[in-house]
Symmetry: C2
Subunit: 320 residues, 2 copies
Amino acid sequence: MKTIVIALGGNALIKRGQKGTADEQFRNLQVPIKQIARMSTEYNIIITHGNGPQVGNLLIQQETCESDKIAEMPLEVLVALTQGQIGFMIESTLDNELMKLENEKLPPEERKLFLTVLTYVKVSQSDPAFKNPTKPIGPAYDEPKDGYVQTAKGWRRVVPSPKPLKIYQYREIKKLLEMNFIVIACGGGGIPVVKEKVFDIDRDLQLGERLTGVEAVIDKDLASAKLGEQIDADILLIATDEEKVAINYKQPNQRFLDKIPIAKAKEYMKQGHFPAGSMGPKVQAAINFLEAGGERVIITSIEKIEDALNGKAGTEFYLN
Amino acid sequence: MKTIVIALGGNALIKRGQKGTADEQFRNLQVPIKQIARMSTEYNIIITHGNGPQVGNLLIQQETCESDKIAEMPLEVLVALTQGQIGFMIESTLDNELMKLENEKLPPEERKLFLTVLTYVKVSQSDPAFKNPTKPIGPAYDEPKDGYVQTAKGWRRVVPSPKPLKIYQYREIKKLLEMNFIVIACGGGGIPVVKEKVFDIDRDLQLGERLTGVEAVIDKDLASAKLGEQIDADILLIATDEEKVAINYKQPNQRFLDKIPIAKAKEYMKQGHFPAGSMGPKVQAAINFLEAGGERVIITSIEKIEDALNGKAGTEFYLN
């Protein structure tokens, strides 16, 4: 059975223009999850997902709430909160969609169990991103503040977006897949941690090692590609707004791509066809996954996951 | 290897008088987790935990934050958020404590993996608790509101606290234990759900079943006892403020109990020695677990988990 990592974009949970009520998020999730439930008899499945609006809301709430008696949580703990929230939303949608299938045609013994894995991702403190934070998060203010940058919405805090080096839970995830679980992991790109060595200076003795969360945000598509590499997944499918990747996006000479070798993708990337804020990290994730030995990468829309997997939609990347 | 469910009380994370910063919570957790890490070579371990202050803070933040653009999440989704938060805090503390042990004397091959299981718990819509909500949650207001009751802190919302009937993830948890994982589960008593049947009225046809979250709070000790029963755990250890259970608590004739048969415990319960807001649900959980076939139940303090397990602290309950 082939193993597929499906990376769900933010629009799987909240569509443009929506406020993002729990009802809306549960309803939106039915579109990808219905397809994933059907696919679950033929594939080992890992679902990864973004958390932009959800973690943003928590930041706004804790910064603007009336009470000064409540301790604000650091960003890495807020990511953990959203992994719980979205993990639960995906799980219960999956539960309902599998139940429907079971009543239709899926015998209970073929029905998969599923689990959300709270995921930490190792980053390096010497990653250049820490010297050049680029990712705006949280509330927008009218006035400048220290460490804030001006964005279209107002002054916002920016945090680093370092490269994912290792998904800590890859062994756990691998074991769960072997036991036929659907796994939800790498929520919001994962909780960024660094491994620190703890020394007793007086005795010049290493006391141990320690994982510590850091104030940063990891790109969920790059984290998904890294996880796919670590667990030897066959396919990476990135589900987003657009059905296909385009060059000259939203210009008169826009052209959608059906199949593309990664050498060509790198060329287009250099030419600036895939900006950092949109297709850039997705195409980079595609390149990383294939160069690390992955078999297929497809970028497509939330609605076309199954079609794209069957070669009827999306942009497919290949090694040569 | 015996299987033990360890239910951590709120003070494992936030002590009285603390604001509950992330640093405080991580530091407090070291006390029970250090003991649990040492125990992990001799027991299969499930850790359950409360979430009172954490879910309370989320309620206050979302009700009092400045923005009206943010959708408020229902209580069951907030419970999922806290399962992510506290699960992460317990896991990373466990990771650090196991790393220390590994450097001291725990060979890597004996080191357990661990996972947090987002846990839903089945409750019945006909549970009498839904007609008589008793659990105050969220912010306290000066003025009365519909559905609010007066408490020492002010007017607060009250929600039902129905009985846990079934922990949905018990099969997943059992499999993880068999694979030598430490499992963190039933956070905050679990996410309360009911199973609804969906009918097509026109065709008089059952379309399927659906899990739906409900606005309620489940007692974490009762949920822990139920989980222990479902996975055939041997021991239930409830870790709280006091080292032992007392009768005539905080009165001149207060007497701490070392060992107590459940018949006697029921008698004391009837006499009002164990109030609903303190030892009541813990003693009830002890009774439930032993009557369902469990071997040992111990109630003790966070500091004395290991001692109590070795018969040197705590109050031990037995069947006859």
